[in-house]
C-alpha cells in the first residue's frame, strides 16, 4: 500500500508505538512545539520552534555512565524508545536526511550509534505546508513545501471530506509502507485523482516560496552552486561586514535543524559519573580554543564564516549534502536581524557581477 486517506480525528489512534510527537501549542505563549499529547495536535501552524533534531540528537544525552569505586564499569544507555513523529514540516524531515549523512558510517567510516538507533526505531510523518512563512526559502535549498526527503510518510491536507477534515498519507520509504499496512483499518482508498488534487495545493505553495524568496540559486539543480561562489571569497572583506552586527549568541546554531556540533563533558559525584553530550555552537570562542590558549578561529569573523562555509562548502564536499533546508528559523531567531538569505544573495550577486565584467 502506497497511500490512503485518514481522518484528522483518527490521527491520535496512530500513537501507541513508543513515544508520539506532534505539533501543539501547550506552552500557551502562542509558540508551536512538538508535544506528546495527541489531543493537542494543531494544523494551523507555520513550524515548530525547536527543530525536529532534538528528538534524534537531544540537547543533552548520556553517552555512558560509570562507577569508579574499586573497579571502573562503563555502561551505555539502554536501547532508545521508538518515536513516532506526526506533522513535522518537510524541511525538518529533510534536515534529518542531511544529519544521516553526518552521523552515518559513510562519513569517515564512523557510525554514531546513538543517533542512528533513534533513527532506525522511529517513523517520521511530515505534513506538507500550504501556507509557507515569509522567511521560508526551502526551494532555493533544493527542497519544497511538500518535499519527501528524510520522512517515511508525507501527509497532505485534503479539502474536508467530513467535518474534521482529512489527510492523504503517502508512503516514502519501506518503513512508511509497513506503517500504512499495519494501520490499514484507519485508511480509506485514495485514487490517483486525490493525489493529483493534493499536489495542486502543494504546487501553489511551492510557487509562492519561489516567488517570495528567489535567492538566485537552486541547490537542488546544482549542489555546488554556492560552494563555487564562496570558496574563492574565503578571505573577502564581506565577512567583516556580515559579522559587524553579530553578537555571537549562537541562537542560529541552536535553532538550526541541521547544526549538530556537540560537546562531550564528564559529570561526576563521588564514585559515580556520566559522560554527556550537549549541543555546542561554532559561534562560541571556546569551541575551538586550544588548551595552550591559541585559538584557530579567534574572532567572530572566522566563526561566522565557519558557519556558512560548513553549510554550503565543507559539508557538500564531505557528505554530499548541504547543511541548510531553508526553514528560516535562524532569520526569525536572530536578535540582530542577521539574515542568511542576505549572505547567500551577496555571494550569488558578487559572482554574477564578476562573470559579467
Amino acid at each position: 500500500m502506497d497511500r490512503g486517506i485518514i481522518r484528522k480525528s483518527d490521527i491520535p489512534k496512530l500513537a501507541g508505538r513508543g513515544r508520539f510527537y506532534a505539533p501543539g501549542r501547550s506552552l500557551g505563549d502562542g509558540s508551536c512545539e512538538l508535544v506528546e499529547n495527541p489531543a493537542e495536535i494543531v494544523y494551523d501552524f507555520s513550524n515548530v520552534r525547536v527543530p525536529l533534531k532534538q528528538l534524534f540528537l537531544p540537547q543533552t544525552e548520556v553517552l555512558c555512565t560509570y562507577d569508579f569505586d574499586q573497579v571502573t564499569e562503563v555502561s551505555i544507555p539502554a536501547e532508545p524508545i521508538p518515536i513516532l513523529v506526526f506533522g513535522c514540516r518537510p524541511c525538518d524531515a529533510r534536515a534529518l536526511s542531511q544529519l544521516d549523512a553526518v552521523f552515518g558510517p559513510e562519513n569517515k567510516g564512523y557510525a554514531d550509534p546513538y543517533f542512528l538507533k533513534r533513527r532506525e526505531s522511529s517513523v517520521v510523518i511530515s505534513l506538507a505546508c500550504n501556507s509557507p512563512c515569509p522567511t521560508c526559502f526551502c526551494t532555493a535549498m533544493g527542497g519544497g513545501p511538500a518535499g519527501t526527503e528524510g520522512a517515511d510518510l508525507l501527509a497532505r491536507e485534503l479539502a474536508p471530506l467530513a467535518s474534521d477534515g482529512a489527510l492523504l498519507l503517502e508512503a516514502l520509504s519501506d518503513k512508511g509502507r509497513d506503517f500504512l499496512k499495519s494501520h490499514g483499518s484507519l485508511l480509506t482508498e485514495a485514487g490517483p485523482e486525490v493525489l493529483e488534487e493534493a499536489k495542486k495545493s502543494s504546487a501553489a505553495a511551492e510557487a509562492a516560496v519561489r516567488k517570495a524568496n528567489d535567492l538566485g540559486v537552486d541547490l537542488g539543480a546544482d549542489l555546488s552552486a554556492l560552494k563555487k561562489h564562496m570558496d574563492p571569497l574565503f578571505d573577502d572583506e564581506r565577512w567583516e561586514e556580515l559579522t559587524a552586527s553579530c553578537v555571537g549568541c549562537g541562537s542560529c546554531t541552536y535553532l538550526c535543524p541541521t547544526c549538530h556540533c556537540f560537546d562531550i563533558a564528564d559529570e561526576s559525584r563521588l564514585y559515580k559519573g556520566q559522560r554527556i553530550r550537549t549541543w555546542d555552537s561554532c559561534q562560541f570562542p571556546l569551541f575551538t580554543k586550544h588548551a595552550s590558549g591559541h585559538n584557530p578561529r579567534k574572532t567572530k569573523r572566522e566563526r561566522l564564516r565557519q558557519r556558512f562555509m560548513h553549510k554550503f562548502s565543507y559539508a557538500v564536499e564531505n557528505t554530499g549534502a548541504a547543511l541548510c533546508v531553508g526553514c528560516g528559523r535562524c532569520i526569525t531567531g536572530c536578535p540582530v536581524n542577521l539574515d542568511i538569505r542576505d549572505v547567500i544573495r551577496s555571494f550569488v550577486k558578487e559572482t554574477t557581477r564578476e562573470i559579467a565584467s
Binding site: 553517552l63 555512558c64 555512565t65 560509570y66 562507577d67 569508579f68 573497579v71 571502573t72 564499569e73 562503563v74 555502561s75 551505555i76 553526518v102 552521523f103 562519513n107 569517515k108 567510516g109 564512523y110 557510525a111 554514531d112 550509534p113 546513538y114 574565503f234 549538530h260 556540533c261 556537540f262 560537546d263 562531550i264 563533558a265 564528564d266 561526576s268 559519573g273 559522560r275 555546542d280 561554532c282 569551541f287 575551538t288 580554543k289 586550544h290 588548551a291 595552550s292 591559541h294 584557530p296 578561529r297 572566522e302 565557519q306 562555509m309 560548513h310 562548502s313 565543507y314 564536499e317 564531505n318
Partner: protein, 292 residues
C-alpha cells in the same frame, strides 16, 4: 549498571565513544620543569589490546572518567606490543588529573584515531626527521618503528634532528642515548642557546641547525613535528634543501571532542584533523585556510 565492558567487548567495537579500560603501569617524569610525563598504559583486556591496532602518526583520546578526555599523539610504536605510551604536558583539567595520578590507576583509551605517517610512500626512501619541543612524541613512535628489525630493511637512512630549549627539556633520554649508536640512524640533538652545563650536541634554533647540517633531499621525505613557529621557519629551509612540497610531512593539532568527524570543531576548511589528519603534506596544507 552491571554490564562491564569486560564482559561485552563488542559494545566498545560498535560504539566509538566508549574507551577501552587501561591501567597506568608506569609514569616517567620527562623534563626538568616536571610538566611533561610519559604514561605507560596497559590494556585490561587482551582482546582490546589486539583490537587497538595503530601505526605511528596516529593519536587517541585518553579518558579520565569523571574529568574528561583529551587527544594525544601515540608515542609508542606498534612494535612495542605490550603497552602504549602517551607523553602529556600539564595544561588543563584532564592533564592535571593525569599528572596527579599514580601508577595503578585505571583510565581509558579511545582509538586509535586519525591517519598515519605515509608509511607506504616512505618505503625505500631516506627519512629526514625534524622536531622541536614535546611534539617529538609521534616521531619517537616513528623512529622506534623504523629501527625495529622487522621494518629496518624497508626504509633508507634516517636523519633525525631534535631540538629543545635546554638539555633538560629533551624527552625520552633513555631512547636518545640508545639511538646514538643505532645503525641506520644519525641523531642530532640541539638546544636553543648555550647551556650552562656540559653539552655535546648542537646549539641553535632548529631551522638554523637544519640549514647547517643540510641533509640531502635526494630520494628523501621529511617528517616535521614541532611548535608552529618552528614549523614556519623550518619549511623554507627544507625547500632550500630541495624537498618538494609533497615530501614535507606535517602533523596538525586542533581542539577535539569526538575524534571521529562528527562534533565539528577540529576542521581546517573541509578537512577534519581527527579523520583526514592529523598528518598532512605541506602541499595539502597550503590549499587549506590557516585555521589551525
Amino acid at each position: 549498571m552491571k554490564s562491564p565492558v569486560e564482559e561485552k567487548p563488542a559494545i566498545t567495537a560498535a560504539n566509538p565513544y566508549i574507551p577501552y579500560p587501561v591501567r597506568i603501569a608506569d609514569i616517567t617524569i620527562e623534563n626538568e620543569a616536571r610538566d611533561l610525563k610519559t604514561f605507560k598504559l596497559v590494556f585490561e583486556n587482551e582482546e582490546d589490546r589486539k583490537a587497538f591496532r595503530y601505526l605511528p602518526g596516529q593519536f587517541a583520546e585518553v579518558s579520565v572518567l569523571g574529568t574528561g578526555e583529551s587527544p594525544f599523539g601515540i608515542a609508542s610504536s606498534p612494535t612495542e606490543q605490550e603497552y602504549v605510551l602517551f607523553t602529556v604536558k600539564l595544561t588543563g583539567s584532564v592533564t592535571a588529573e593525569l599528572h596527579a595520578s599514580e601508577a595503578g590507576r585505571r583510565i581509558g583509551v579511545r582509538g586509535p584515531l586519525g591517519n598515519t605517517f605515509p608509511w607506504q610512500r616512505l618505503e625505500g626512501r631516506d627519512i629526514v626527521i625534524v622536531s622541536g619541543g614535546f611534539a617529538f612524541t609521534t616521531l619517537r613512535s616513528g623512529i622506534t618503528y623504523m629501527l625495529d628489525p622487522s621494518n629496518r630493511g624497508k626504509y633508507g637512512d634516517i636523519f633525525a634532528l631534535y631540538g629543545a630549549r635546554s638539555p633538560g627539556e629533551l624527552l625520552y633520554k633513555k631512547e636518545l642515548a640508545a639511538w646514538k649508536s643505532a645503525a641506520g640512524l644519525r641523531l642530532h640533538l640541539a638546544v636553543d642557546r648555550e647551556p650552562g652545563e656540559p653539552w655535546d650536541g648542537k646549539v641553535g634554533l632548529v631551522p638554523n641547525v637544519l640549514r647547517e647540517l643540510g641533509p640531502s633531499a635526494k630520494n628523501a621525505i621529511a617528517l616535521v613535528c614541532g611548535p608552529p613557529i618552528m614549523i614556519r621557519f623550518t619549511i623554507p629551509v627544507l625547500q632550500e634543501l630541495g624537498f618538494a612540497k609533497e615530501d614535507i610531512i606535517l602533523s596538525l593539532e586542533n581542539r577535539m571532542k569526538c575524534g571521529i568527524g562528527k562534533c565539528g570543531r577540529c576542521n581546517v576548511g573541509a578537512k577534519y584533523v581527527c579523520t583526514d589528519g592529523p598528518v598532512f603534506s605541506f602541499a595539502e596544507l597550503e590549499k587549506l585556510p590557516p585555521e589551525y
